[in-house]
């Protein structure tokens, strides 16, 4: 069984030879550069640093093929890029100056090498006119996806790994947070729903243009397409279920429909926090794979119930805790937790092992290896696969 067959079986709710592994390939399943450097050192890999999306300020590593093989990762990513002109401008800006993306939002360096999204160009906007007048990014810029067709075709020709397409943040709500600031936009959702909805739909329109080009470039060479929007907090939802259903669900439904009209790839939806009360809604609009299953957040810790209620329709990707287990656990504790999660989410397929969101700087490289080695050891369905050399 090839890694691709393994993934396809799992997302079609069949048991492959072992539970598939998804690491790297997107920020939400990625490894930050600092822990990745330590991992490279531990594995004796000598390779230059490369960043996902060619974006050092995001700080998430593009994992070298040698490491991907050692980690047993069953997918390979195809990503978009900011327009070449934007990458160029940022590469040549003064040191430590704010990073600004094509949307006009961006990140500020608060400590050397640590960037946070703090530049919100529509922070004070409250009117539809301001949305109409804003210099929105050019989603027709061909340099955003110029590499996509060839990269996807090469992976498809190899036919070894499942192809996971992860365009950067074509997420309406999170993009609205980036444009306005999270608290400001949340207040506008309640205070100025017409404005908030208009902003979301405007962003959605732009996301769809780029997503359309991205999917056209991929053609049939894609197995999983990632979108999302963070909807949960540590203990609850960012907004009431009623507000979600009134304002955002139609937007997500429209987006999923748009994507599914253009590809048969499985729809991967990333949403942090405790989103338990919205899982029925996400299934209803066509989400196939839910990520990251933040077990440290509220009812998402109840993996048995997740599997029992939605396991026949939803594939779970994630579930390996980055709050305590991966940063603070011993390799043995990591292995025990991976086995526990696999035992609950694995039966019948429908589970892809991944860390709950990005592996951060506090995770020792030994624990990253312990996570995947536990999958090799305990993740087999019928036969035990050989551990990669």
């Amino acid at each position: 069984m090839t890694p691709r067959q393994r993934v396809l079986a799992a997302v079609n709710h069949e048991e492959p030879d072992r539970v598939p592994i998804v690491l790297g390939v997107s920020n939400a399943t990625g490894i930050k550069m600092k822990p990745y450097r330590r991992l490279k050192q531990l594995l004796g890999i000598e390779a230059a640093d490369h960043y996902l999306y060619s974006w050092p300020e995001l700080g998430t590593a593009a994992i070298d093929e040698e490491a991907m093989v050692r980690l047993g990762v069953d997918v390979r990513g195809v990503l978009d890029l900011e327009p070449a002109s934007v990458l160029e401008r940022n590469a040549h800006r003064p040191p430590h100056a704010d990073y600004l993306n094509s949307w006009g939002s961006g990140a500020t360096e608060i400590r050397p090498g640590e960037w946070f999204p703090m530049v919100c160009p529509l922070a004070s906007a409250t009117t539809i006119k301001e949305i109409e007048d804003y210099p929105w990014p050019d989603m027709e810029d061909p340099t955003r996806v110029a590499h996509v067709a060839e990269q996807a075709a090469r992976l498809a020709a190899e036919n070894r790994y499942a192809i996971m397409a992860t365009p950067w943040l074509l997420f309406p709500l999170e993009r609205a947070f980036a444009m306005q600031g999270m608290d400001t936009f949340l207040m506008n959702l309640a205070l100025r729903p017409d404005f908030a909805e208009a902003l979301l739909w405007k962003i959605q329109e732009l996301c769809k243009v780029l997503m359309g080009h991205f999917l056209a470039a991929l053609g049939e060479n894609v197995d999983i397409i990632k979108i999302g929007d963070d909807l949960g907090t540590q203990e609850s939802l960012l907004m009431s279920p009623a507000m979600y259903r009134r304002i955002l669900k139609p937007i997500h439904a429209d987006y999923v429909r748009f994507i599914k009209e253009r590809t048969s790839a499985k729809l991967f939806f990333h949403t942090d926090g405790d989103v338990f009360p919205l899982i029925d809604d996400l299934v209803e609009i066509g989400v196939d794979i839910l990520n990251p299953i933040q077990t440290s957040a509220g009812k998402m810790s109840n993996l048995e119930e997740l599997k029992a209620r939605w396991g026949d329709r939803l594939t779970f990707c994630g579930g390996i805790d980055t709050n305590r287990i991966l940063p603070d656990g011993t390799p043995d504790e990591v292995a025990v937790e991976v086995r526990r999660v696999i035992d609950i989410l694995g039966p019948g397929g429908g589970y892809l092992v991944s860390s709950v969101h990005t592996v951060m700087d506090d995770v020792p490289p030994e624990n990253i290896l312990a996570m995947v080695d536990a999958v090799f050891e305990f993740g087999g369905y019928q036969q035990r696969p050989e551990k990669p050399a």
Partner: protein, 216 residues
């Protein structure tokens, strides 16, 4: 003419509903009509905020509504603060608060501050990305009853350990209670860091603080 009871009711409703402009309008009208600032605060604004907190904890309101209520409270507070000070109302405690170094998340911290101010605490906000040394300096300068540290990331939670050590080294640990908060924070964190408590959300921050400071 609008009566005092009606104004108190309206201020309560506007803060509860997060209508900042109307809350400020009613507070100004109340003051102009001779309603005491303390009555506006204790009979309308604080109960409204407590009710929002209760509704948040029971899952009846969510962040957007809570943020709006907090903003209405803050803006109304700005109007009555001089009168409250003039009335000689003493704060029930002093709090120094900040988001730790390497972290910029402050939505939760801002909500905590409003809830604490609403409960009668004086809060000095050190802002975001606050170095441990700044916390120490602020403890020396303001002599607070409690210091609150916020961190959203598992990586920046490590700053708590460093900051508690710095406060100890400065010989100030005995003078101040240390409270922590943020998404990855739980009782394990409190035990590891050697803090005095944590609150899972802004609404329970007041309860936790009062318990830690033994305020009735």
């Amino acid at each position: 003419m609008t009566g005092r009871a009606e104004i108190i009711d309206l201020v309560y409703e506007h803060v509860l509903n997060g209508e900042a402009e109307q809350a400020v309008g009613e507070v100004e009208r109340g003051l102009a009509l001779g309603v005491e600032a303390t009555a506006l605060l204790f009979d309308a604004m604080i109960p409204a905020l407590e009710e929002v907190g209760r509704l948040f904890e029971t899952g009846e309101v969510f962040l957007p509504e809570m943020l709006l209520a907090a903003r209405a409270m803050q803006e109304a507070m700005n109007v009555i603060r001089p009168s409250i000070v003039a009335a000689g109302v003493e704060p029930i405690g002093r709090f120094v608060m900040g988001t730790v170094a390497g972290d910029i998340h402050d939505v939760g911290k801002k909500l905590c501050i409003v809830m604490l101010e609403g409960a009668g605490f004086e809060v000095i906000d050190l802002g975001i990305n606050v170095a441990g040394e700044k916390f120490v300096d602020a403890i020396r300068e303001y002599r607070p009853d409690a210091v609150g540290m916020s961190a959203f990331l598992t990586t920046t939670v490590r700053e708590f350990d460093r900051n508690v050590a710095l406060i100890e080294e400065a010989g100030l640990r005995g003078t101040v209670k240390i409270l922590i908060g943020g998404a990855p924070v739980n009782q394990h964190t409190v035990d590891r860091v050697g803090a005095d408590g944590y609150a899972p959300d802004a609404s329970s921050a007041v309860r936790v603080t009062k318990a830690v400071l033994s305020i009735g």
